[in-house]
């Protein structure tokens, strides 16, 4: 029981940064924009969250700072791809390269420092329920935030008029433009949302999980988040499943190491990346792929004629 709780708990912790980033990118891609710069936005969020928390002493300020920094990065991408009509794939790569460099520069004075970790909130009474208490009701506030934002995103995409318009823009930007929706504006807003969430995912790593800053601490999680969006078929509820699946793989690797099985640790560390590939292949090859179709205008440049 104790071990099961620990494993599931570890999985939830490992999944949370992925869930933040994937939830954000899902909205962006639903609006028809492919932002491959998730890794860059996450790592900027991580460094911004850490610096602001260290300087102000307030976690809330750090979390807010991370979201703003992530959104600012996303808007830079928006300027490139929506206003200057640059190629989205190349701009996303640029955002990642730039983000990794900038975060290393900003954080160069902060590596080795530590900040107090984000405290857990124990919900009274509920936290004492055996098994479910520790799993569901004893977490850092950022964990609850990740779930809340996912639910909010799901509600927005399926239950609101604005969500419908956003999806219309993503399916066919020319048609959406023709009936008068402001395609570029909607996409910029979606990008800012995606960037803010990627920033939160990064901040979760540097504030809550390990209250430290180290260069490239996101270690490819931004790219895994992109894979989760594909896995989820661009639907929020499946993104939750995807993030927890990948979180599980990460944690499995740690537990196998803990069991003392004589495999060099490097091979176990490969697991999340190999599983990502395997899942991508399985999803891409599955016969139900038609149901998981990417948004129609995904990655295409929109230029209003006339």
């Amino acid at each position: 029981m104790e071990l099961a709780v620990n494993i599931i708990l570890g999985m939830m912790l490992a999944a949370t940064p992925l869930l933040f980033a994937a939830t954000g990118e899902l909205v962006v891609e639903r609006a028809g924009v492919l932002n491959l710069g998730v890794e860059g936005m996450m790592v900027i969020g991580a460094v911004a969250g850490f610096i602001v928390t260290a300087e102000s002493g307030s976690h809330l300020a750090g979390i807010t700072g991370a979201a703003i920094a992530g959104a600012a990065m996303a808007l830079l991408f928006g300027l490139m791809t929506q206003v200057l009509l640059a190629n989205q794939v190349a701009s996303g790569l640029a955002l990642t390269i730039f983000g990794l460099g900038l975060s290393a520069l900003l954080g160069s004075g902060y590596s080795g420092l530590s900040i107090p970790a984000l405290a857990r909130i124990e919900i009274p009474l509920l936290a004492d329920i055996p098994f479910f208490g520790p799993l569901l009701f004893r977490h850092e506030p950022m964990f609850y935030l990740s779930i809340l934002l996912l639910v909010l995103t799901g509600w927005f995409l399926t239950r609101t008029r604005a969500g419908l318009i956003l999806k219309a823009v993503g399916e066919n930007h020319d048609a959406a433009h023709a009936i008068g929706h402001p395609v570029v504006l909607i996409r910029l807003l979606a990008l800012a949302w995606g960037g803010a969430l990627a920033g939160l995912g990064g901040a979760y790593l540097s504030i809550a999980r390990t209250p430290l800053w180290s260069e490239e601490m996101t270690a490819g999680r931004g790219w895994i988040a992109l894979a989760i969006v594909v896995f989820a078929g661009w639907r929020p509820n499946r993104a939750l499943l995807g993030a927890y699946l990948f979180g599980g793989v990460t944690i499995l690797q740690l537990h196998v190491q803990g069991l003392g099985i004589a495999i060099p640790s490097q091979y176990l560390s490969m697991l999340p990346y190999l599983v990502t590939i395997a899942v991508l292949v399985a999803i891409s090859a599955s016969p139900s792929r038609a149901m998981l179709r990417a948004p129609g205008s995904l990655g295409r440049t929109f230029h209003a004629q006339g």
Binding site: A90, W223, S284
Partner: protein, 357 residues
Amino acid sequence: MIRLERRPETSRAMLWLTPVLALVLTILVGMVLFAMLGKDPLQTVAVIFVSPFSDLYNLSELLVKATPLILIAIGLSLGFRAGIWNIGAEGQFTIGALAGGAVGLAFHGTDSLWLMPLMWITGCAAGMAWAAIPAFLRTRFGANEILVSLMLVYVATLLLSAMVTGPLRDPDGFNFPESRLFEGSAAMPLLMEGTRAHIGFFAALVAAFMAWLLLGRHVVGFQIRLLGEAPRAARFAGFVEARVIWFCLLVSGGLAGLAGLFEATGPVGQLVPSLPVGYGFTAIIVAFLGRLNPLGIIIAGFVMAVTYLGGEAAEITMQLPNAVTAVFQGLLLFFLLGMDVLSTYRFRLRRRVRAAT
């Protein structure tokens, strides 16, 4: 009100002017950045752009840095033209170094002329094999080659680390995670004694020349260009997309693998976990800076080599953090992509149309 209008034809002048403009803008923004870090901007820029040319050794180091960048970027540019995004060159670089290097280590102490070519072939083949994974998964299952090739970078880096702490570790190396040194027949022949510049530079030039021939003179080059510019037309013309995907990924993987082997057996001299230093990613910038054109890529490779060396010099003489180079390179790619709008679109001033009364 200013609006964008698509040019009937891509502007040739702008095509070559935009990289220069982007470079100038990057330097200007860089100067602001230096000032913010409390350094004299003019002096810093002078250090970055003058020191790489200060003596023969620095000039030879330019060749050392430019060689892998050009080799990898030439391969990547083919795929980028066709809309096939191999962004895992860093992994193919690592695997090439690992496999080719392993051959060299297996024949440690052997003195013969065939060893080096055998290592080259192995390194190149291993890079191809690593790139074949995304090619196969894309053509067979439709899996996204961007994500697959990128995930394999992490796998390759971990594999290198596992190998140099395990089977390939130097038996006399006091348990340090590093292989034996590549010596004698297993070491890359140098261009000049006392420098690290090696004959791999000629391989880069040959690769660029072959790419130029391919793109301008060969039907495969035409297929690559058409697939990128007009995919529908390419399909109507009966070109098999899968074949182009395989071709682009194998060529770029092979060249990246070769670059990795050169790096390990030349400038670095052994297999170490820190061998992949990001050439595979910087080469993406080189490919775009060179406008995906072989000659342009050679020039761009040298420009980027200058930023590496100049960045190192500024780190020492001006106490700049070493991350500045990466920021610089990221900015450059941004400006390049952003300025592209000038070659395919033009700005038109338009008065607001007043409604007829």
